[in-house]
Symmetry: C2
């Protein structure tokens, strides 16, 4: 399970992949396979979290990395590139957003 | 701290707010205030997680809700609307993406 904690200091990379609805599940599996087989083993990888839009026109990866340099190194890794190329063949990869998690709010639990 | 767990079955709503870099922190505070004062008390709220892009041109809220109906009810709540209106005065609110978290990968921890 992935934790979101502003104190952790990770780089958050949000990746949008626009896709034909009929290909959403195939795209999800392609991205998951690349993560399972290669990307999660690379230095600085913390997590990847794959979402499918309710209308199935988009897959979103909410990823955590130790640093931007680690993301850059992943993007140059030949095996990771091969997996991303496969995803690019069935989806349009939107430029990712690199960001910092700044504030987190969780539900107020009312004791009875 | 927020947990990302595909088994939880929450609706994930990813909200992008495009903003002038000089206003990014003010936008973050406006959104945080609305969440603290009102939105987190509404039925079905699970979490809100505010990110600022490294280039400061975007603030992203990764939010979890119990159901889409709860999000719809929040969007009709007069106090929540007042807070969102304030955010809209300093940012361009991009149409949110409603999605399901489908798969999560965490770093492989190698024992030595």
């Amino acid at each position: 399970m992935t934790n979101l904690d502003p104190e952790a200091g990770y780089v958050v990379v949000i990746n949008n992949f626009d896709v034909a609805p009929a290909n959403a599940d195939r795209l999800l599996e392609t991205l998951a396979e690349g993560t399972r087989q290669r990307i999660r083993m690379l230095p600085g990888f913390i997590s990847a979290n794959f979402h499918v839009a309710k209308d199935r026109t988009r897959v979103i990866n909410y990823a955590q990395w130790r640093s931007e340099a680690d993301v850059d190194a992943m993007l140059k890794d030949p095996q990771a590139r091969e997996h991303l190329k496969k995803a690019g063949e069935i989806a349009t990869i939107v430029a990712p957003t690199y960001c910092d998690l700044r504030q987190t709010f969780d539900a107020v639990i009312v004791a009875i």
